[in-house]
Symmetry: C2
Subunit: 422 residues, 2 copies
């Protein structure tokens, strides 16, 4: 079927995807198409096995209208949220609901063959664990480094040795014969919040700030990811921080955000406090384990260690200072905080908020909310799954997918395709 005949088809499908259980008249209103056109498009989508009429809506006096639903069990998408030291792999139905998932330790520095090989095994295992699984239609992947979105290849990722330029899409697509999309972990987290956290969806303009080993942001503008022309928007780990100490960063510059407030900086400063005797609690941990991590500092602060608390509050102020600039510049409705910082307690959140409210334009903070992620790490897998779903249903792909000929009446329900057209 030609693309020309498919006008409005994707819009109709997207409206049913985002408002599952919609009546046909409300659908026509929402997509701004006439009822006849919408009925034809719905018939196409039914013929393709993507949409079903199921249940009855409230009557307006006449016959109760049938509700249109995504046939969300028609196909599956896989998501892989690959972090520096762990990953989540899952399967989801077409509504984005995760139906099977597994989390495990992984060292991304083991390189793409090891890590992607493991992703493939886990997808196979999850598929095998489902009784009568529908076909796999697409895969979405998040990785902890910059990605050129158009080609799905990492670009000089600092903590992913061996991954630079690796053809992740071609590898997974070759193995599973489905389309694949790859993005950096923070964009994937932002997308997960946008699609599954109602407050994020309402905000429209959203800033996701991940503060962990690295520090990065995901930007949403008008309900869609802003990736920038090279796909690296939000890569703020090495911006210069006002009022910061002159710490030399691994990148060679001075006073980078990551070098004064990232996980390695917390570990470094915590060790200094432990060794100087300023924090007997952290000194104990260091003596017992021979090492001190950012998580140890956070744990010490939670136990009430004053030195650890002061250190985290200072890191919060430095992050907040940069965030204040970004808030004035971008004017988001919601800032979602993720990464290790969400375990660091309310005093860090308070320090971040205070800096933002002190330094941002008053108008930009009038309705701004700054909240730790309620989804936490689950946003990563949700985002990977929605990355696949958001890109899967294009006019071209749907056109090749649909049965030939234009169904004039109600078609027979066709089987969903085993294979997604390329």
């Amino acid at each position: 079927m030609s693309v020309e005949r498919m006008d409005g088809l994707v819009a109709v499908l997207d409206a049913i995807r985002s408002d599952n259980g919609i009546t046909q008249s409300r659908l026509a209103q929402r997509v701004g198409l006439g009822r006849t056109v919408v009925a034809q498009r719905v018939a196409h989508l039914e013929a393709a096995g993507l949409v079903v009429q199921d249940g009855l809506g409230p009557s307006n006096g006449g016959r109760a209208p049938r509700l249109l639903r995504l046939r969300d069990r028609a196909g599956l998408v896989a998501g892989a949220d690959i972090g520096a030291t762990g990953m989540a792999v899952g399967l989801a139905d077409l509504s984005g609901r995760v139906v099977a998932q597994v989390h495990e330790q992984v060292d991304v520095a083991d390189g793409p063959d090891v890590v992607l090989g493991r992703v493939e095994e886990l997808v196979d295992r999850l598929l095998a664990g489902l009784a009568d699984p529908p076909p796999l239609w697409a895969i979405g992947v998040g990785v902890p480094g910059p990605v050129e979105f158009a080609t799905s290849r990492p670009v000089a990722p600092p903590i992913m040795p061996g991954w630079d330029g690796h053809p992740i899409r071609e590898r997974l697509s070759g193995r599973f014969a489905v389309p694949v999309w790859v993005d950096n972990d923070v964009n994937v987290l932002a997308l997960g919040e946008l699609r599954t956290n109602p407050a994020a969806a309402r905000a429209g303009d959203l800033l996701y700030l991940k503060i962990g080993t690295g520090i990065g942001a995901g930007l949403v503008s008008g309900g869609r990811l802003h990736r920038g022309v090279n796909g690296c928007a939000g890569d703020i780990g090495h911006v210069a921080v006002a009022e910061a100490d002159a710490v030399i960063c691994r990148c060679g510059n001075v006073g980078c955000l990551e070098a004064v407030a990232g996980g390695a900086a917390l570990a470094r400063d915590g060790r200094r406090l432990a060794e100087s005797g300023a924090s007997p609690g952290m000194a104990e941990v260091l003596a017992a384990t021979g090492d001190l991590t950012a998580a140890d500092v956070t744990a010490a602060a939670e136990r009430g260690d004053p030195a650890a608390r002061a250190m985290l509050a200072r890191a919060g102020r430095l992050v907040g200072g940069t965030l204040a600039t970004l808030v004035s510049f971008y004017n988001p409705g919601l800032v979602v905080l993720g990464g290790g910082v969400v375990h660091a307690g309310d005093h860090v959140l308070a320090a971040i908020r205070e800096s933002v409210y002190r330094r941002s334009l008053p108008l930009a903070t009038r309705t701004l909310r700054i909240e730790p992620s309620v989804l936490g790490e689950a946003a990563g897998l949700a985002g990977a799954v929605h990355l696949a779903l958001d890109n899967l249903f294009t006019p071209e792909r749907l056109a090749r997918w649909l049965p030939a000929g234009s169904p004039s009446g109600r078609p027979e329900l066709a089987a969903a395709p085993e294979r997604v057209p390329a």
Copy 2:
């Protein structure tokens, strides 16, 4: 005519607006609609007097196809680009081509009654100067302060006393009986670049940085303005600058960008250099006029004054440091520089560029270009005009605008409406 019947109408009109002289088959491809639907929509637009068939395109062997053009003389839009000390008011046809304009001095601090009264007089005068003018359909306005876009009202604008909350839309709409849109000056400049500078249109993700008395940015994401949830995105005059002196800003904070690199800061520092004897050239100007402005500093630098040059280069580095953060965060393809800085010579531009390339993420500067505006202040009037054009043609407005009944064949060319439906 109901909105439901208008599916694709705005898309068809927008495609003809942006690709004037398009064939019907290319139009169908571009908007992704079937040829029959497109032919009907084109007939509607012809009936409304908005589109004409004019000229022949290249033949593909058969009959040469007719070209579709916007009937750009069907109506006029007015634009007003109001600055702190001057304004431009103009009339444009529906393609955005300015057909009449006037520039004059104005003091925005005289308040909305004086300034908008003058805008009204100038629009009247320009209309009276056109032989047989088509009807006025819309007005777009740029003002030098924050605006709540939805209501078109200024929000606590620092250099616009008397304008806070002023109902600019209601006033001009009441006077001319046309729809009115208002935005801040930097967004209007960014929109002007986007719509009339081919390099800006190609960039897609654009950052317009105006460095004058104030410092502000306009953001374009994926070809549309990113205004933020309160309409104040880009308001960066008071972000904290790394490596800046501890200058106290009029806002009460320390080290604000505007306080160290804005026009008032240049005048202040220039006066200090003049008085200390470090710059005999600027001392002469100060003695002769009793005052020293940012323009005087720029002029001194252009004459080769070393102290003025060093000062401007330092301001360029400070602006560049903040811009580096914004480039890493936003990853634009093009940064357009506007405001007084474009007259300050290549050494300032070089200082800005050097800071950005030194401190931004390498991937974010791989294809980045940083250019002074080629349109200059003309971008403001162009942007005001396009602000009106971009918002004028909604499905609802077109539906009320079109003649009743569905033209099945080629309709008679209807007269364009004298009045735009509200």
